[in-house]
């Protein structure tokens, strides 16, 4: 009544079915590598790499980074404006402005030839 047909698996099918697990692992590695490459591209392009003090070159200064922002009191964005709230803002702003201007950041000239011990003259002796 019924005719049963036996379909012989092609060589290609049998290879895939035989090595399915291995292929899945390879595919997973490829996808993971792709995500790692994309992540590294984003990490390097958006400036995160420059402020990442966990990088090996920054071991000596890592402990000195200010991680505690509890001394920075937030000013509320809601509420009425009166003499008291204006003075509160004035005080908070003045404190932070003093901190910002406390040191001449990126001042000096540590990359000048003189600082690095190179003579300034560009004329051939």
């Amino acid at each position: 009544m019924f005719k049963f047909m036996t379909i012989k698996p092609s060589k290609k099918d049998s290879f895939i079915s035989k090595h399915l697990f291995l292929l899945m692992i390879i595919l997973a590695i490829i996808i993971t590598s792709l995500f790692v490459v994309v992540s590294m591209l984003i990490y390097n392009s958006n400036g995160a790499a420059q402020v990442d003090l966990s990088r090996p070159g920054y071991v000596s200064v890592r402990a000195q980074s200010v991680t505690n922002s509890s001394n920075f009191k937030d000013y509320s964005a809601s509420g009425e404006i009166n003499q008291e709230t204006i003075e509160e803002f004035q005080q908070l702003f003045a404190d932070q402005l003093n901190k910002a201007k406390a040191i001449d950041a990126f001042g000096g000239d540590p990359l000048s030839p003189a600082s690095l011990g190179i003579s300034v003259s560009t004329e051939q002796p």
Binding site: V51, L53, Q83, Q96, L97, K101
Partner: protein
Amino acid sequence: MTISKKYLTYLLILTVVFSGVSFLTVSAQDKSITDKQTEQIRSNCVSMKNTLNQLHASDALLRVNRGQIYESILTKLIDRFNSRLSNNNINNDELKSITVKYSSMLDTFRADYKTYEEQLSSTLNISCSDKPADFYSAIVSARTKRNQVHTDVTKLNQFLDQYQSVFNQFKKEYKTASEGMKN
């Protein structure tokens, strides 16, 4: 025969032009650094690399700490005060205008620091004993970029000063107005 002569002439002209360009380039490189400087870079190579490594680390720390302060001033104080004024229907166009400039300068500071850090990192990767001229040229470029970062910081401080000045004016006017209403 004529064609081959023509091609030979073109080839000769091209050779002369390329030789001239190459000669000029090499001459320019030679002029950028003196023999004395080359010798100094080679002899101080290790100490210079150490100095640059220390500067690289200390500038990164400075970028993180300064960046945090400038960012917090904007998000935790200035933006909130501006919002509060707006919520109370108080005109603060001048303060807003300074805030926009400050915010834009903060973006510039971030971008310029990134450019400077990349330049300093590539300088550290150049062998100062094998390529002293390239090393010197990279230092000069890093120096220019660091100076730009310093200019950005100065401008940020100037915008904060401007904001404070306009705020003080606002405070004065507010006090006068509120005293006038009482009387």
